[in-house]
């Protein structure tokens, strides 16, 4: 009797310790990034241009760039992802074409981000002639976000009880009426959570933007979709890799801001998810 219990106590202790260490390490990392950067926060930081080789000024244009990109990306990837998820859930489960689209979407989520960058570079920047621009960057990142949203939407819809659909059909509703009037509203919370988490991911994406959309440093704000843009993650990357010690403060501060932004998005998503569970 005792031997079995002591095996469990021992393993439990070791595994628990390791898990706790991991947990605290994560908290430590997040804290360091946020705190060591936040001490540089002041209003000028958020609104000004970077100056004097990143040793002064702010990240205004990068914030703007990220916001514009996110807006565009959501505009493109939400309809695409939503309808793809709808298709996979409501039309695709048994047919051949459904299975193919399913495999396609799954494979897309495993493709390395730099490969998407190459694709975006050759398709949008070069072949379609959009150049290094907001448009190229957003289109590329939208394609990256598509599988994330599609599979979450599909999961959300598949989880709805069969009788919900059938009650609508039994009243004489057509299939797409049911999808748009009943099913999507019913899965609303999960879908919104999925979109939030997808946004959180894409706002921090660097590699594809390096190849398709971003510049080191721009002197003016983008005026059209064909202009290049600074985004928060690419800005962090450039500063860290190319500038000296005096510029480090900006990298830290930007990281801190970006991380705070993402954490807020995630916390909202978690909150919505929790609300849904309590219904």
């Amino acid at each position: 009797m005792k031997k079995k219990q002591s095996v469990d106590s021992l393993v439990s202790l070791i595994f628990r310790t390791i898990s706790y260490i991991t947990f605290f390490s994560i908290i430590l990392i997040i804290s360091i990034v946020i705190i060591d950067g936040a001490r540089f926060f002041k209003p000028s930081f958020f609104f000004e241009y970077p100056k004097k080789a990143m040793t002064q000024g702010g990240i205004g244009p990068a914030i703007l760039g990220s916001l514009i990109m996110i807006a565009l990306i959501l505009l493109i990837s939400i309809p695409l992802g939503l309808l793809t998820g709808v298709f996979l859930s409501e039309y695709g489960s048994k047919s051949l074409i459904g299975k193919i689209i399913d495999i396609a979407v799954t494979s897309l989520s495993g493709v390395p981000s730099i490969v998407y960058g190459l694709f975006g570079l050759t398709l949008f920047s070069i072949t379609l002639g959009f150049g290094t621009s907001i448009l190229s960057g957003s289109l590329t990142l939208s394609i990256m976000t598509l599988p994330v949203i599609a599979s979450s939407v599909r999961e959300a819809l598949v989880a709805l009880p069969r009788e919900l659909r059938e009650s609508a059909f039994a009243l004489g509703a057509k299939k797409t009426e049911t999808i748009f009037k009943i099913l999507i509203p019913a899965g609303k919370k999960r879908i919104i959570t999925a979109i939030l988490i997808g946004s959180g991911r894409v706002i921090g994406e660097t590699a594809p933007v390096l190849l398709t959309g971003a510049v080191f440093y721009s002197t003016k704000l983008p005026t059209s979709l064909l202009d290049p843009v600074m985004t928060l993650p690419t800005h962090i990357y450039f500063i860290t890799m190319s500038y000296g010690v005096e510029a480090q403060w900006m990298a830290k501060a930007t990281s801190s801001f970006l991380l705070i932004l993402i954490l807020i998005i995630y916390l909202i998503a978690f909150q919505i998810r929790k609300e849904e569970k309590n219904v």
Partner: protein, 288 residues
């Protein structure tokens, strides 16, 4: 046929067309990347895969990617060595020993970790971890060890939550039958439940490895810049992803160098595709 039927039909077609974009993207990825790789593949040929000499800017240029391929493999291998057991331990702990409070907090924190962008992890390593590693004996600020640490941090959420899901999805009664026979929780969890969930765990491993191989920014920032085969953990390493990202800014479009980088991309695309297909066949693979 009436108006409602027409609307239903139109809606259905629209849904299908949008969904079809997914297939178009996959096809497009392969078509465009293969297209740009062809010059390098035809003109440089075998040298790409068998030579370790990568000197694309010399005259005459050399395009041997073997060192980078091996670099990718070693980096992935080392990181997997760290993260897979760690992920398993954490998922096992959450499944078997953690109380509700611990479960909730630790799971949420790990989910939160998955949201941290790789560029922030890279910056964190660069500023805070790299100096420590250098004190330990590294001669280059970018090296295998630092990069593996970064990759471990980045891929831990994948490993831990996928494995935890696999364990949890096993029928409770299986674990309880084992316990009812007098087995310890460890035996029940390890010998019975893990075995039952083995295809799910295998799937988690495949997907985590896929994530690691495809990571670009962390390795770009802290793996070092030399395209050599690392002999110690303190050596720098340049995996394929980093090579593409760092050199793409300097090549002229259409040059052989440009095409060689696309070939590197093709290798990555193919590997990730194969891994995903394996995952889908191993189980009805779930992905994040």
């Amino acid at each position: 046929m009436n108006w409602r039927d027409v609307k239903d039909g139109v809606n259905k077609t629209v849904i299908f067309l949008f969904a079809f974009v997914g297939i178009l993207v996959v096809v497009g990825l392969f078509v465009f990347i293969i297209k740009e790789s062809i010059p390098a593949l035809t003109q440089v040929g075998k040298e790409i895969f068998f030579s370790i000499y990568w000197y694309p800017t010399y005259d005459p240029p050399e395009f041997g990617m073997l060192a980078m391929i091996i670099g990718s493999l070693i980096l992935t291998g080392l990181s997997s060595l760290f993260v897979l057991p760690l992920g398993y331990i954490i998922s096992f702990f959450l499944y078997n020993y953690a109380n509700t409070f611990e479960r909730k907090i630790i799971k949420s924190t790990i989910d939160l970790l998955s949201g941290i962008p790789s560029v922030i992890i890279g910056t964190f390593l660069f500023f805070y971890v790299s100096p420590i590693v250098m004190k330990l004996g590294a001669w280059s600020p970018g090296n295998l060890l630092t990069a593996s640490i970064g990759l471990t941090i980045l891929s831990l959420p994948y490993a831990a939550s996928l494995m935890e899901e696999s364990l949890s999805s096993v029928d409770q009664s299986l674990k309880e039958s084992a316990l009812a026979l007098g087995a310890s929780k460890f035996t029940a969890g390890f010998k019975i439940v893990t075995k039952e969930a083995s295809s799910g765990i295998l799937n988690s491993i495949i997907l985590t490895v896929n994530r690691i191989i495809g990571e670009t920014i962390v390795v770009l920032m802290v793996a070092g810049g030399a395209a050599i085969i690392p002999k110690s953990i303190f050596d720098p390493v340049r995996p394929l992803t980093a090579a593409i990202a760092s050199e793409m800014g300097e090549v002229s479009v259409g040059s052989l160098h440009y095409s060689a980088l696309f070939t590197a991309g093709l290798i990555l695309l193919t590997i990730s595709f194969i891994l995903t297909l394996i995952s889908k066949t191993v189980i009805g693979g779930k992905t994040k």
